[in-house]
């Protein structure tokens, strides 16, 4: 079985982002970029499937500008066998990303498409569901546990009420949640080896994909500030402050 994994280049999760003063967006100059953490989890899961003998080949795909190759190299260092770089310089909407990923899926015919549940830049949480809808195949989102058994997968999903288990026919899209696994630390020899692995570059036109309608961002603002708080020294003061606010 082939496993396809999507990886997105995003602002590192440790960065405290700043909104530009003129409301035109978020300041990304000189900001540390990384692979979306949920995609690292998806990547790790794919590599484990290969190590377990369930998968024969792991292919990483990204949609982004030239620099997104860095994240593909990280994916290759995780253990992907090869990578596909769909070069697009502007941001794509989730529906456009889904159209592109559908085209890559159809070309590669994987048995499983592992994605992140959410990209932590735009927090859209859409692309996996859209990709599987366009392909007409099952989706198992927010996966906390994945078992492959022949042409079926059993997925434990992290839902509001607890843990839901579903069974899907393969091929399917599975989106990774936090507790699917703990991604490994990349080791220097693997990073060196990744430099020599093949990366294929394609354009949207090569894939025959047109951009889908998206949303227009008219303004970016900082969140409303919270009023400054107080510090209390004792539990008595805490209880008094809570009573004062009518909360207890």
């Amino acid at each position: 079985m082939k496993v396809l994994v999507s990886v997105k280049r995003v602002v590192d999760y440790n960065v405290r982002i700043q909104v530009k003063g003129d409301g035109s967006g978020v300041n990304l100059d000189g900001v540390k970029m990384s692979m979306n953490p949920f995609d690292e989890i998806a990547m790790e899961e794919a590599v484990r499937l290969k190590e377990a003998g369930t998968a024969e080949e792991v292919i990483a795909v990204t949609i982004g500008g030239d620099k997104a190759e860095e994240q593909l190299r990280s994916a290759l260092a995780f253990g992907a066998d090869r990578a596909i770089h769909v070069k697009v310089n502007e941001e794509v909407s989730p529906l456009t990303a889904a159209r592109i990923l559908k085209a890559v899926f159809e070309k590669e015919q994987p048995g499983l498409f592992l994605m992140g549940k959410q990209a932590i830049d735009d927090d859209n949480n859409q692309t996996g569901q859209m990709t599987s809808a366009l392909l007409g195949i099952p989706q198992a989102t927010f996966a906390g546990e994945l078992k492959i058994d022949g042409n079926k997968a059993t997925v434990v999903r992290e839902v509001d009420a607890g843990l839901e288990t579903i069974e899907v026919d393969l091929p399917a899209v599975v989106t990774a949640d936090l507790r699917l696994n703990e991604p490994r630390y990349l080791k220097l020899p693997d990073i060196m080896k990744a430099k020599r692995k093949p990366v294929e570059t394609v354009s949207m036109a090569d894939l025959g994909v047109e951009a889908a309608p998206g949303l227009t961002v008219t303004k970016t603002s900082p969140p409303p500030a919270r009023a400054a708080g107080i510090k209390v020294k004792t539990v008595d003061e805490l209880v008094a402050a809570l009573k004062d606010k009518g909360l207890v």
């Binding site: 405290r16 909104v19 978020v26 909407s93 529906l95 889904a98 549940k117 959410q118 932590i120 830049d121 927090d123 859209n124 949480n125 859409q126 692309t127 996996g128 569901q129 859209m130 599987s132 809808a133 007409g136 195949i137 099952p138 989706q139 989102t141 927010f142 906390g144 059993t154 992290e158 839902v159 509001d160 009420a161 607890g162 843990l163 839901e164 069974e167 899907v168 026919d169 399917a172 936090l178 889908a212 949303l215 227009t216 961002v217 008219t218 970016t220 603002s221 900082p222 969140p223 919270r226 708080g229 107080i230 510090k231 209390v232 539990v235 805490l238 209880v239 402050a241 809570l242 909360l247």
Partner: protein, 313 residues
């Protein structure tokens, strides 16, 4: 004029309160607000939805295939109802149910989706959070297309009762896949107030140290009649189940009172509590970032503070 279809969430035959919050948001768009119930047998759920203020009609589509909330099965029916009925908007809640379902609906309809509406400026203009709520974008949707969206429940009160909409049974002619099958649900939550709607929440983090120690959190919560939450670190360490995680990728909540105990205040955690009325932080590290957002901070050891606090309430 807008014609809005709100997809109802229900569990165990009960209308989930997230539906009433999505209805409230839809009412702010204006126009007709209708609710769609997809269930195995949804009459009583539909009747509950009909009582929500602002709802003009409830559609109930009964089908044995709808007995479980599988997005692959529900989405084609919603897309069909939305397209045949000429709806301008299709809204769902941003619970895991809605997050799983609504993008699939949008893709089937070939339209963009707005995740996590937190404010409505017009029929096609909304605010939504990005970067864990550290920036808010105002987005404009194409007015020539239906708007599919999820509603950030923490931003909206539940619509009031007192409505009396008509309930209409419908049958939906859509091809339903069999490639996705429900196996089961393991519910973790006990009989404490629901985290997503409780007016008071006490949360514990890595500082609590173990699942046995979480008793101090539960005890304080019980004293306050509060729901119980946790940080990712507490969940990952196995102190408490996943459904208690609060944050960017867990539950986003807006209680009147939020007490964070042994939680450092990472941006991903804060994303889940930005709309809390009053944030209380109890942490032994006076430099913990949680104190930057706390309305009331107390530096101290939680194992001393909590029992004393419980005794004095």
């Amino acid at each position: 004029m807008s014609k809005i279809l709100v997809v109802a969430q229900h569990d165990d035959g009960q209308l989930n309160v997230a539906t009433a919050r999505a209805v409230k948001c839809a009412s702010e768009v204006g126009g007709e607000v209708e609710v769609l119930v997809l269930a195995e047998s949804g009459q009583s759920i539909g009747e509950a939805a009909a009582q929500l203020e602002g709802v003009s009609k409830v559609l109930v589509a009964d089908n044995a295939a709808n007995s479980q909330p599988l997005a692959a099965v529900l989405a084609p029916q919603i897309a069909k109802v939305a397209q045949d009925g000429g709806y301008s908007h299709v809204f769902g809640p941003n619970t895991t149910y809605g997050k799983d379902l609504m993008p699939r609906v949008a893709a089937l309809m070939g339209v963009a989706m707005v995740t996590d509406i937190m404010a409505v400026h017009g029929a096609h203009e909304f605010d939504r959070p990005i970067y864990a709520g550290n920036a808010i974008v105002t987005v404009q949707a194409d007015s020539g297309q239906a708007v599919v969206a999820s509603v950030r429940c923490a931003s909206y009160q539940a619509a009031g009762q007192g409505g009396s909409a008509a309930v209409e049974g419908i049958s939906v002619d859509a091809e339903l896949p069999t490639h996705t099958r429900y196996v089961g649900l393991k519910k973790e939550g006990g009989d404490r107030p629901d985290l997503q709607s409780a007016p008071r929440v006490v949360s514990g983090g890595r500082g609590v140290g173990s699942s046995e120690n979480f008793k101090v959190i539960f005890d304080l919560a019980d004293k306050l009649g509060a729901g119980v939450g946790a940080s990712r670190a507490a969940v990952d360490s196995g102190y408490v189940p996943n459904d208690m995680q609060v944050g960017q990728t867990g539950k986003i909540i807006a209680p009147e009172l939020y007490i964070a105990v042994g939680i450092s205040g990472a941006i991903q955690h804060l994303a889940g509590i930005k709309d809390a009325g009053c944030i209380v932080a109890i942490n032994s590290d006076e430099d913990a970032p949680i104190f930057e957002v706390a309305d009331i901070g107390l530096v101290g050891d939680l194992f001393q503070v909590l029992p004393e606090l419980q005794g004095k309430l």
